[in-house]
Symmetry: C2
Subunit: 478 residues, 2 copies
Amino acid sequence: MRNRLLSLPIQLAPCGGEPYKQQIARAIEELIVTGRLRADDQLPSINELVAMLKVSKNTVLGAYQLLQDAGLIRSALRRGFFVEAVGDCALKPAELASRPAQPPPIYASTVRPVHAPGVHTPPPPVPVRFDFKVGRPSPHAFPWRRWAALSNQLLRHAGRAIGEYSPAEGLWGLRMQLADYLASAKMLSVEPEQIIIVAGTQEALSLIVANCLDDGAEVVMEAPGYTGFSHLLAQHRARSVQVPVDAEGLRTALLPERALPLAYVTPSHQYPLGHTLSLARRRQLLEWAARNGTLIIEDDYDGDFRYASAPLPPLVAMDPTRVVYLGTFSKVLGPGLRLGYLVCPPALVDSITRRKALLNNGCPWLEQAVMARYLESGEYSRHVHSLRQRYRKQRDSLLDGLQRVWGHAGEVSGEHGGMHVAFRLPDGSASATEVARMALARGVRLLRCRRPPAAAGAMSVSCCSATPRSTSAPSRRR
Amino acid sequence: MRNRLLSLPIQLAPCGGEPYKQQIARAIEELIVTGRLRADDQLPSINELVAMLKVSKNTVLGAYQLLQDAGLIRSALRRGFFVEAVGDCALKPAELASRPAQPPPIYASTVRPVHAPGVHTPPPPVPVRFDFKVGRPSPHAFPWRRWAALSNQLLRHAGRAIGEYSPAEGLWGLRMQLADYLASAKMLSVEPEQIIIVAGTQEALSLIVANCLDDGAEVVMEAPGYTGFSHLLAQHRARSVQVPVDAEGLRTALLPERALPLAYVTPSHQYPLGHTLSLARRRQLLEWAARNGTLIIEDDYDGDFRYASAPLPPLVAMDPTRVVYLGTFSKVLGPGLRLGYLVCPPALVDSITRRKALLNNGCPWLEQAVMARYLESGEYSRHVHSLRQRYRKQRDSLLDGLQRVWGHAGEVSGEHGGMHVAFRLPDGSASATEVARMALARGVRLLRCRRPPAAAGAMSVSCCSATPRSTSAPSRRR
């Protein structure tokens, strides 16, 4: 449990015109949205607040009720009131919303850190007002009404479905819809039988690593690259062979010529620098893999977003026997769904399915069933399309802003697709670490890229999750 | 994909009074619910059925529409119509329900086998009319209305919650509610911080095995025991040391006296024979573990159901530093939720959390959030209570039936708790294999226990998932 608070910094304006209960609720809301109250903090008891503010018990009860209705706090029987971890401050009942016009509150991150460095970052020392955290979709874009309607429809059948184990490899309907989607959206021709539904890209990587690696094995990955993968390798006692990237993506000329079981790449939008692997390099990579007996993991984590030229064909389209393709719904709908998929070479389907069964017997039924319907109806495609428009605009604002501040100094990469761009600071400026620190002290979170040399002085900046918090206040409920 | 059917065995009664479209829909429903049509079978096209039945196109379209509305089939654009994998045949629109009274349809299993023997069994050769499959809750008991209402409420906040990674160890609210529940329902005093939310018991086992075992390690398990665990051990190149069980549970006197990292037991209702580990044996087991430095996995897979005496204290209550306690919602609500938890000794919390983060970054947000509310409101406790009444009655019917057929011959075990009983055939009768085969040929599925000597001639029979299918027709929509 977090803090147990005995008092709160609340000043009531007796002649303010606004009823006390709304003043109290608003003051507490401010404390929550500015991050001074954190998820799971315990609020003062009713009596404590009564004593402190010299108001009636009903007033305090009314204020807490308003906050509960707004999803900002919860009550736990005989324990008291707690700040809600999942409350979306954007949704308030009419009463709370009736306060005088003022700048919209900016949300502090209430996500608790996990113990896997590189997968998530620890919480910042000050409230984050503009969070340019990488890889999160705009929180206002989630189609919750539609999701609720589909869930509702499907839950009528839930007894039979939830009362059983679904297939470990995923619901057939979802795999079939995904095959259709990949055919139309990415020109990928895959059989539904090749698709295995997993709890996000991280689980896909876990399954492949557990399936394909022995202790001490060496695995090629990009430098800089996704640290969630290098931590996974370390856990499996495998070693990473770091191959640098440049503006054409992985520098294939530097690939070691020896038998290596796995190579992990992000061809469509290199993580974190955002480069696209060129066609020539794609060919070289596949030829290298064929020579050395390597299985390639193609992580297309945000491949749905492409703003300029037509995308290059995925690696898996060029050599379906040697590439495992990873897709995810985390970037389009949200990582809280824990839903992704891998497209396996036929030879791997059985062993990965068996692993998934012994790991956790498959993914939850409801998310899969809803997603299948959402794909089937064409809504998913339309949603991706509208996100693409939205994210393109947000990217444009971000590039404008960078230009205004830095002029032609510095260097942007990754702006042609995906959900973030990288920005390399000009020579002679403060270090990326220093800039990120200064920004954070002002409530702006950036992600500093860590690995030299390609990433020296570079920072990744989301053009998706952050900007809506500062610019889209009027359209928040979309 | 399964079969592509070009025709169906449908006879229309021209003077039957019932419109053709309903006759057709009903006939196809019968084929589905009796298992002659299987999940993902492709139905004849509209034109094929028109040609076969000599009816109008609109009639066939109408019939397919009725079946779609009932969730029994689905249409896939440009591919045709398919039997639905998740359809609950019990829920039909008014039109379909208006047919003449007749015995309720019995459901065939539409679950597809996975490739993990012991986790699931392959589909039977004939339609299963009475499925005494072990470990599935009654499909009619799932509180879908309430689940839909809670999902609906929570999805309003989904953008912010699904748009983020939740904590890998699970939502704080759920862990807090679980700590409360364990305190009141099992007199277990645990801190929320010790609870880690996982995708079911199988994932809990995967995490522990990956965390605690090296190649070639030896692990104690019960004989007969849960084969899903022995397969997991094999995958991790660990070996099982099989210790027999008797009427008091694990025969602790036979435990090997050497340093062993792990022991896996099911004390409250031994799987599959159903014995309860006696208090004396519990003490011996814990003393043995302390002597040999062993961590005990206590799998309380259906410990919510106890029909006679008060339950013994869980092992974890007797030695919280040496026992990992596994709980699951699979048996109360359904395995399709993929939601369970482990209560870790404090020393293990960090490493298991880190493993969960690197494995798949946590469980989906919605199931966790709904479950937290369902626990908080007290509805979960009430649901368990009403299930206990229901399952006790069903167990009584089952015991009556066994008595009627076998008299005092044979031997029942595990009838005082849990969701299934085991029945040992009397000496001189056909073998368990033979009895199970004969039963299956008549559409009755039993689970034969496999490992001698304790299990020779024994069969496990669910008293939960099967009986409702034959007896609870009038209350199906509960």
